[in-house]
């Protein structure tokens, strides 16, 4: 039977978003104190007795914070809470309530993204400080969404306000009306396929098919039949006659993505198809005429590959009649925010949410991220953020948790309380132990202490 203690919400903080705190643990004791403190802070507080009830309650509604009393085996319970909250999507902050937590526990909790480890009993002042920290991100300055003027490319759109993209747009306009072969060069996620599609749609073959093949995604043993097709029974997996992508693109454009991942043998066959304008299905005997415009793309340095004997020079010159180079997202300046705003609106529609802005801290975090996966990565990050967002402003705490617990958070203003010397020492020892994969002797050598001293500190800090 779930007993629920509800505390009425006074309007103590006009204008502040309402905080909803869920206490999980036995009735009375620390949670009774916290319920009282919460009332004083104008926060809503509800208590459930155990984890099962907590799960049901968390599933039902959006909560700002979970205050979990960890009694027996706190480490195990900590792992449980971290795992459960990570998956729930809506991300209430986790605060653990532990009687005399060791520094090691506190460290592990912090590394796992726990907002605060409170030692039981909890003082009112400590609780108030924590609530202030929770409120501060809510009070992040919202910045309005950046305006975008998208260019439609089929069902998708190209968005950019950056001068570095202007040469790309110009080149597309210049090359599209011809039937010249185009090589699009750029890192993964920079939008090579979108550019290829734009060239196709603005060209003379726009009414005919645009067929794509991602050479890096298709296993080598399947790529040939994917490109050229096969006759039934040509090999074990040839269950039916298959029309290849060259044939399917007839009259239109064939886009060969990640062409640098193609084997030399297949490169020769592509070259022959381009030169002779005919192909042969695997297991077939008749040559089949094909008429396609070829656009290829790569994230690799094909010239270097030619030097290493991994790419055919003659094919390279066939493909690189016109070369379009796409910049990395990091080089596109404010496009980051323009794109983020566009994706926010797009996913907002999809998930029935409305966004009016991005907070200053979230913008800061977006700017500091490396964006190895470029626009595609940004799109994924924003989609996830939309899923977890609970306000019209995208905030820092909607962005990936590892950004806040890892290095990227270090650059943002630190509002956590200052550490004691022991905490600093424990953190440093833990870091060195991670580095040595738990080897105490090696860790002691790096730290310049005797291994017995180190072993004692490990015990002392509960590392």
């Amino acid at each position: 039977m779930t007993t629920v203690l509800r505390v009425p919400v006074p309007s103590a903080r006009e204008g502040s978003p309402r905080l909803r705190l869920l206490g999980v643990g036995p009735e009375g004791g620390v949670l009774r104190d916290l319920a009282r403190f919460a009332e004083g802070e104008g926060a809503e507080f509800e208590r459930v007795p155990d984890t099962s009830a907590a799960l049901r309650t968390l599933s039902d509604d959006a909560w700002t914070m979970v205050l979990a009393v960890l009694e027996d085996e706190p480490e195990e319970q900590l792992a449980w809470w971290v795992e459960v909250l990570r998956r729930l999507g809506r991300r209430p902050r986790l605060v653990t309530l532990v009687a005399s937590p060791s520094i090691g526990f506190t460290l592990r909790a912090t590394q796992s993204g726990v907002f605060e480890v409170l030692s039981i009993p909890v003082g009112r002042e400590r609780f108030r400080e924590m609530i202030e920290r929770v409120r501060s991100p809510e009070q992040e300055t919202p910045l309005p969404l950046a305006e975008a003027r998208p260019i439609a490319v089929g069902n998708a759109q190209m968005v950019s306000e950056s001068p570095v993209m202007m040469p790309v747009f110009r080149s597309i306009a210049q090359v599209a009306p011809s039937t010249a072969t185009v090589l699009v060069v750029g890192e993964s996620g920079t939008g090579k396929e979108l550019v290829a599609r734009a060239v196709h749609l603005q060209g003379p073959r726009s009414a005919a098919p645009f067929v794509t093949v991602n050479c890096a995604a298709i296993p080598e043993n399947l790529l040939e039949s994917e490109l050229f097709g096969h006759e039934k029974g040509a090999f074990t997996g040839a269950v039916a006659r298959k029309i290849g992508r060259f044939e399917r693109a007839s009259g239109g454009t064939l886009f060969l993505d990640e062409i640098g991942d193609m084997s030399l043998a297949l490169q020769s066959k592509i070259l022959r198809a381009v030169q002779e304008r005919e192909i042969e299905r695997v297991g077939g005997t008749e040559p089949i005429p094909v008429d396609v415009r070829l656009i290829a793309a790569t994230n690799r340095d094909l010239r270097q590959m030619i030097g290493q004997g991994q790419f055919r020079e003659d094919l390279y010159y066939r493909l690189a009649v016109v070369t379009l180079k796409l910049p990395r997202l990091a080089e596109r300046g404010d496009d980051l925010l323009v794109l983020a705003s566009t994706f926010l609106t797009e996913f907002g529609h999809r998930y029935s949410k409305t966004f009016s802005g991005i907070s200053s801290r979230a913008v800061e975090m977006l700017r500091r991220h490396e964006w190895v996966g470029n626009v595609r990565e940004l799109r994924n990050v924003i989609e996830r953020a939309v899923l977890v967002a609970d306000s019209e402003t995208l905030r820092a705490d909607h962005l990936p948790e590892e950004w806040r617990t890892g290095g990227e958070a270090a650059a943002t203003p630190d509002t956590t309380p200052l550490s004691t010397l022991s905490e600093m020492e424990a953190r440093h020892i833990s870091r060195v132990l991670d580095h040595t994969h738990g080897q105490i002797r090696e860790a002691a050598r790096i730290l310049g202490v005797h291994r017995n001293t180190l072993a004692r500190k490990i015990r002392e800090y509960g590392l």
């Binding site: 799960l55 792992a79 729930l88 995604a217 296993p219």
Partner: protein, 427 residues
Amino acid sequence: MSPVDGQRALRVEQALRLLPDIDALLPLRAFVVRTSRGMSPELPYRTVGKRFVQSGELREFVPRAVARASEHLTALYAAAVEALESEERGDLPGAVHALLSAGEEEEKVGRFTQARAWYEHALRVAEELRERRPEIRSLRNLGRLDTMRGRQETAARFFQRSLVLAEAEMDAHAAAIACQGLGDVAQAQGKWQGATSWYTRGLQYTESDPALRAALQLGLGEVARARGQLDSAAEWFRQAGALFATLRDHQGSARVLNAWGLLESLRVRHVEALARYSEALARLAGSRRDPSVEMEIRLNLCELYLEWGRLTDAEDEIRRAEELAIEHNLTERLARLYVIMGRVRGRQGDDTGFVFYEKAVELCRGQEPWPRLEADVYLAYALFRKDLGDLDECRAYLERAHEVYEAIGDGAELARVDGELARIQAQ
């Protein structure tokens, strides 16, 4: 992940093509896959063949691979010698026990054909004995293995025989396990009434065996769920969960929560299902986790995200599950995972999703074939092709599925495939 500067990056598919697919190299081929590095999470997800081989690490792993192979052989030889010594002592039940242990060693490393050979051999020896318990255990192992491998008819025969023997011996524990096995077989065949009867009969033997009782209650809950009796299923899960909790059996609790997650999925209560799966994984985190149980939960989680339309989360979960399946050599589950990934790509309208079905087929047809699963893959592959409008290929894969289901005697699925074929013909 990009290749190391100045070094040619070797992909797993290239490496596996280079190494002959012979018995002696099997552990090394497995290591190539296991030590390979996937794409970083920011980059698109691809099949295992597209990962990069870590040849440096591979060299370091060779002694470990050899040590592991040697450890395995040592265990087998020790069991064989133990069997001989037992016979010398006139302890033939002991010899059967040793032979069965050897089979279990083989099963642990996924060498199911060899495991079956040990079990059959043990059974032949056990059949000569007056003492019946070794025979019961041999039959039980064979039944369990065949159930897992999708050979339900033979599995049922083994469990039937073990039940008759156990009842004759008044061995309640063995009888309950046999009933559980028969229930599992019936459940796998979609014979819900039969499964319910077997699990219920098993319960009669579990007065003093709460762990087995909980497992049977879990089975009853699963059957009730499959029959659409959702409240009854929930009640069974509640009972099983309570028993496992009393026993502090985290593995059992995780299995119940997993089953409960499926129940919530059926009720289209996605958040609740997610919470159950998360709790199940968290329970496992606090125990010595059984990778196959964890993999089952993760597969269900992937399915849930797919149904929910959270495709990015599905893909993330698939990456994590793939690591786990590769790490623990869970071939059958890896194939099922690739089918889900193919469906994710299908939902995204990305026709390169076919590579995942192809990979799944390849895994099903490997050294240890999974014919039942292979047919399931063909069926899913056919539906993928159908959604893309490739009706010829769709028909071809349905015909393949038909052949395999017919060969293994799965009438229910055969009817489903024939239904799909009829719909295709009508188009």
